[in-house]
């Protein structure tokens, strides 16, 4: 009888906790915002169409519009996409992230190309294709691993323990490249097609904001936030064609 009560209690507690996590939408971020745009000067490498002839399943998926290389994705107005912008100094303790982040292998591409997550945040990797994939993060600080995910295999559940910018490749499909950006802050953004980014909910303080592009390197700016203000910071990368 007592055991029954305890288990009912346990179920209730677990249920309420779950509701607490999932049921209530996150509060709108209070505090300052840093936003801006990432652009380039110079001549970036051409985006090239990827010929997936080797993998007929994926070649069919992209028969109409070929996927382009993603190492330097540019947009109108010299916008630079896939730039990670984050608070590299000044963050006084972001809460550990518990929501799982999801990496998809879809149409023989990593989606998203740059995946940002925090140390110990659960990472779930899905194979959405009717072909086997292989995930090989070339980690140096964290333990490197190399695993295949055949059709019908369950999602890979994993995590990264230490901050690191990890290149990820698929050994089976040489054109599949992506990044796992493991950073110890919850204040980050990845520039979109228009090069725009926005870091929100920053408490007052002095921050270093860093922008990182896989081919063009790193830039940093110091920014001070005093209240509920929006500060503009722009990054300009110098691009070379080769």
């Amino acid at each position: 009888m007592r055991a029954y009560h305890i288990s009912v209690l346990a179920v209730a507690v677990v249920g309420m906790t779950a509701l607490g996590v999932r049921g209530v939408p996150p509060a709108p971020p209070a505090g300052g915002t840093i936003s801006g745009k990432v652009t380039y000067t110079g001549t970036p490498p051409k985006m090239k169409p990827i010929d997936m002839a080797k993998e007929p399943f994926c070649a069919r998926l992209h028969a109409g519009a070929p996927v382009m290389t993603e190492n330097a994705v540019t947009g109108p107005g010299n916008a630079l996409r896939w730039v990670l912008v984050y608070v590299s100094a000044g963050d006084r303790g972001s809460a550990p992230a518990t929501q799982p982040v999801r990496l998809d292998q879809k149409g023989c591409q990593y989606i998203p190309h740059v995946l940002v997550l925090q140390p110990d945040q659960p990472l779930e990797i899905y194979n959405d294709d009717s072909t086997s994939h292989n995930i090989h993060p070339l980690a140096k600080v964290n333990p490197e691993w190399n695993k295949s995910q055949p059709i019908g295999a369950p999602p890979i559940q994993t995590k990264w323990e230490k901050p690191e910018l990890i290149p990820v490749k698929c050994n089976v499909h040489p054109w599949m490249h992506g990044w796992h950006a493991v950073i110890a802050t919850s204040h980050y953004a990845v520039s979109g097609e228009d090069g725009a980014f926005s870091l929100q909910g920053l408490p007052p303080g002095k921050y270093t904001v860093t922008a990182w592009h896989e081919q063009f390197g790193t830039q940093s700016e110091d920014v001070t936030i005093t209240g509920n203000e929006t500060k503009a910071v722009n990054f300009v990368f110098k691009a070379t064609p080769y």
Binding site: P45, K48, P49, I50, D51, M52, A53, K54, E55, T69, E70, N71, A72, T131, S132, N134, N146, S148, P167, K169, N171, V172, H173, P174, W175, H177, E214, Q215, T240, P241, Y242
Partner: protein
Amino acid sequence: MGKLFAVVVAIITVVSTAIFLTHTWWLPVDISAHGHAIDHQLSETMVSSGVLFVLSQLALALFVWRFGDRKDGRPIKTFPGGVTPMVVLAAVLVGAEILALTFVGAKVWAGVYQTPPDPNALQIDVQAEQFAFYFRYAGADGKFGATHPELINEASENYFGLDPAHDTTARDDIVVPSLVIPVNRPILLMLRAKDVNHAFYVPELRIQQDFVPGLVIPLHFTATQTGKHEIVCTQLCGLGHYNMRAYVEVMPEEQFEQWLKDKASQQ
């Protein structure tokens, strides 16, 4: 029990030979200039060794049938004529077969692997890597850029490690993941491996050759029919070995030139 054994061996022999003879599963169509000689050698071997196979199995079956569980009380017999004629006959027959196969076969082999390529052959560079093939055409200048392994970067599609920033001959090199070739023109492939052993195999072209890291291995052939076929890797190269493939597309000469122009304009 002896009769059962004889019957089972006979059935196995007949059924497996019949499947060979009817070509239920057989080689795909041959689209190469040299392939017919290989197919012919294969058929010759199939016939001579097939006869040996059937005769041996049936002799075994027959003797086991005849001399199993003998209750006739007669003493054992030795093989007619004893061992010497049998050994001599076997040595002569098999020896003659070996000689015949070697003389013809060595010529076939030499015709494919020991002859220099046609001086006008179209040269294409092939790089095998875990787990794909990439093909490089010299481009407008007719020259291949030098390769630098340290510059290889798959994310930017620099599969060969070219250095276009400093090496002008490399800028117009055409790199594609499919082998496109003109029909009836001698082709010379230069095989390089980026990482481990691989192999180039096109069943329809009747050609197979390993890639060896550290070596550049020439391989030449001429395709005689247009069409699209698979190139597969046959040397164990790692986890994606089963998925290491590319396509060879054989085109009429004009279509090939057009294709080459289109690709050159994309560089």
